[in-house]
Structures are given as C-alpha cells and as structure tokens.
C-alpha cells in the first residue's frame, strides 16, 4: 500500500496501521517515546505516564492514544521531557531504588530512562517505604522495594500465563503488589520460571534466584546503547515465550 495513513511526530512523518496507538506506530517506525508500563506484547495500560506527548496543545499518554491521520504529535520537547524527568524522580523517591547493589542495574528501564532524561537526583524527599522481600520461592525472589506498579507482571500472568499470580492491592501511595496466596507468599502460588510474568519486570522486582551479577559491566542492555536508541526492540509483536503456547 503506497497510501498508508501517517501522522507527524516531532516533524517526522510516521506511518501507521488502523487500530495502532501513537506509541505502537512510533516504535514500529523506529521513533522512541519513553515508556515503562507499555510492553510490545500487551494491551496498553497508560499508568506510568512517561509516554505523555503533546497533541494540539493538549497532553495525553501516547500508549493509549489511537493514531489518526494528520495528528501533530510533539514528544521530544523540553516541556514534555521536563515532565518525564519529574515522573522518573517521583518513582525513585517513592520506592527504595539502590542501583549500586541492584542486580538489575544496567538492564533496568527506570534507570535507563533516568540516564536518558539526565536525571541527576530524585530531588523529592525520599519516602523510604518498608517493603520486605519475599524469598519464599525456591527459584524466584521478589524485591518489592523496586516496584514501580507498572502491572506488567499482573497482565503477563493473567493474559499469557493464565495464572493471576500477581495483583495490586491498596490505594494511592499505599498501592502495592501482592501475590495470589492465602499466606501471601510466592512459594504458595503456581508461578514457574518459564512463565511470561518472569520476563516482563522492567525493574528489579521479579528475579530468578542465584543469577545475581553474572553479566559483567559493559555487556548489560543499556551499557552499550541508550534506551532511546532501542525503539525497535519495543515495537509491537505477538505475545511470545509463554510456555502455554
């Protein structure tokens, strides 16, 4: 088709298939828009708001915004990046993010976004919440300190694994991740290493045990290229890697 519809993103013309969101179309075309709760294999969710863009003077989350012909989308502009910077700072201040001793460091999307947006400090007063680990499972560790409540594990577990191992509880600033067991312990759920839910955490909450720091500095995902140069890796695709298919 030579007459595929397009919209404008920061001056560039972006083709899209009907039904695609601004985010999906942009990534497919290799244009990066910051995101945390968006995942190429899942239904858009729109909670992290990192993907906020400006369209006709109004702001909206690009991951849930349907692409339309002729849209004029502004993403990589000072005003929007300042907003994103503050959002990243908020997430760092909300949880307990100690990158220096975190095994996800270098492969962490939150960290990579901080780098990309030149976030030098959380700025806000840190909340230092008390979030105990769940190490009950023989092969899997949950470190809730790093949870950014993106719900990807929740969606992966229910939509792909068909298990509902994870869910959100509480409200507002007390919102937190829980697991599907009376004991509240992961060991008493039916999660398995091969589950999709094991693969989607953008930060360091859901971890395969005893892997730790096996990838040397320099070879981690965001050591080589900034996250903003990895747009295509997040282009929409069919759910894969689920052991149930």
């Amino acid at each position: 088709m030579n007459d595929t519809p397009t919209f404008q993103l920061d001056g560039a013309s972006v083709p899209f298939e009907p039904g695609q969101t601004v985010m999906q179309a942009a990534l497919s075309a290799g244009h990066y828009i910051p995101h945390l709760c968006y995942h190429p294999e899942f239904k858009p969710h729109g909670s992290c708001k990192l993907c906020t863009v400006k369209v006709g003077g109004r702001t909206a989350a690009s991951c849930t915004m349907p692409a339309e012909t002729g849209l004029e989308v502004e993403s990589d502009i000072d005003e929007i990046n300042a907003l994103r910077r503050t959002l990243v700072q908020m997430l760092f201040a909300e949880g307990n993010h100690f990158c220096p001793s975190c095994e996800k460091s270098g492969n962490c999307m939150l960290q990579a976004l901080g780098y990309d947006l030149e976030v030098h400090t959380a700025g806000f007063r840190h909340l230092y919440p008390d979030r105990p680990l769940d190490a009950s499972h023989p092969d899997i560790l949950l470190d809730f300190n790093r949870c950014i409540l993106c719900e990807l594990c929740v969606r992966a577990s229910s939509e792909v694994d068909g298990k509902n191992v994870f869910a959100l509880a509480g409200r507002g600033i007390t919102k937190h991740l829980i697991v599907n067991a009376k004991s509240g312990l992961l060991a008493d759920t039916d999660i398995e290493l091969a589950d999709k839910a094991m693969q989607v955490c953008p930060v360091g909450v859901i971890l395969k045990k005893r892997v730790g720091f096996s990838v040397p500095i320099g070879e981690r995902r965001y050591d080589k290229r900034p996250i903003s140069e990895q747009a295509l890796d997040d282009a929409p695709r069919a759910p894969a890697g689920a052991r149930h298919e």
Partner: protein, 181 residues
C-alpha cells in the same frame, strides 16, 4: 586564562566510603592539569581541618550523624557552589538501607538484648557523634546546587562536570557518563 585566580575547592566525605574521592583521583594525570586551575582547601588530601571561603564544595556521603550535619553546614556556609557527589550524597545510598529499621531497636539488639550479653552497654562517650534516626541525602538538609550521580561517578564524569563548571558552562553528563551504579 591561566592568569586568572585559581578556584578554591574543598572536599569531604560524610557517611561515605571514600570511593568518590578515589574516583576524583582516578582522573589520573589530569590531576596535574586540574591543579593548575584550582587549589584545595579542606580535603582528605590536605591537613586543613576546617573549611574556609571556597568557590566549590564537593561532598561525598550522606548524613548519618550530628557531626555530618555540622560539617555540611560548614560547607554550605563557605562554598559558593555545593556539589553532592555520588549515590550516598544524593540518595543516602546503601547506609540509608537502615532507614526502615528503628535506630533504638538496632542499638538495643546490638548492645543489650543479644543472647548471652551479660552487661551490655551502648557506647556513650561525649567524643562520639550520635547517629540520626535516619540517613538523609544532602539535599534534604541544605540546598545543593549540583548532583553528580554514580557509585562512584566515573572519573570522566567528574572531570567533565568540573571542567564545564570551571569554564563557566552549565555542566552536562550525557550517555555513558551518567550512571547510578
């Protein structure tokens, strides 16, 4: 350019590990260039015990006891520009991992109720600064002008930042130089 008066820099480590100071030294030969542009006031590298009027203050480590607070205030009073260097100064760092524990409980467990501890006591000599109930990043106690993240920030990051600053530019790091680990 070299005619102009040298900038005066003071550095200190509060609740830090000196890794950030090591990273300053990791600029290697460039230290010789740096020394043509700046002179050092109070620093672990000099025997000046108290900070005088300075252009730039560089602080490593977070705030974990009363003495840290005094030193931080001394720096803020004397330094035109105050830089928080490294994770501990910026977030409290690993020492802040004690923040979800009650200090009293810790001290009690360690000194008084540990099994078999017959006549426990908590060190209480007036020469010892008291610990704060929580470890705080610098920006929660005084105004901080710049932050250089990393544990420690790489020598290249520090070099870029300082040379930008000395040249009167707004310091920028960019990919590869800005790290949190």
């Amino acid at each position: 350019m070299s005619e102009k008066k040298k900038l005066r820099i003071a550095t200190t480590s509060l609740a830090g590990c000196f890794g950030c100071h090591m990273s300053i030294l990791d600029i290697d030969e460039r230290i010789l260039t740096l020394l043509e542009l700046v002179e050092f006031d109070r620093s672990p590298l000099t025997d000046i015990k108290h900070c005088g009027p300075c252009d730039i203050g560089i602080i490593e480590g977070g705030i974990c006891n009363g003495e840290n607070v005094h030193v931080l205030h001394e720096f803020r009073k004397n330094c035109k520009i105050l830089i928080a260097l490294g994770s501990c100064a910026i977030t409290g760092g690993l020492p802040a991992q004690r923040n979800h524990l009650d200090l009293g409980d810790c001290l009690t467990e360690v000194y008084l109720t540990e099994p078999g501890l017959a006549h426990g006591h908590i060190p209480n000599d007036p020469e010892l600064p008291l610990p704060l109930d929580k470890v705080h990043p610098l920006h929660e106690v005084v105004k901080i002008d710049y932050f250089i993240p990393g544990c420690p920030p790489s020598a290249d990051a520090i070099w870029k930042f300082l040379t930008d600053l000395i040249a009167g530019k707004t310091p920028e790091l960019g990919h590869g130089l800005i790290k949190y680990d």
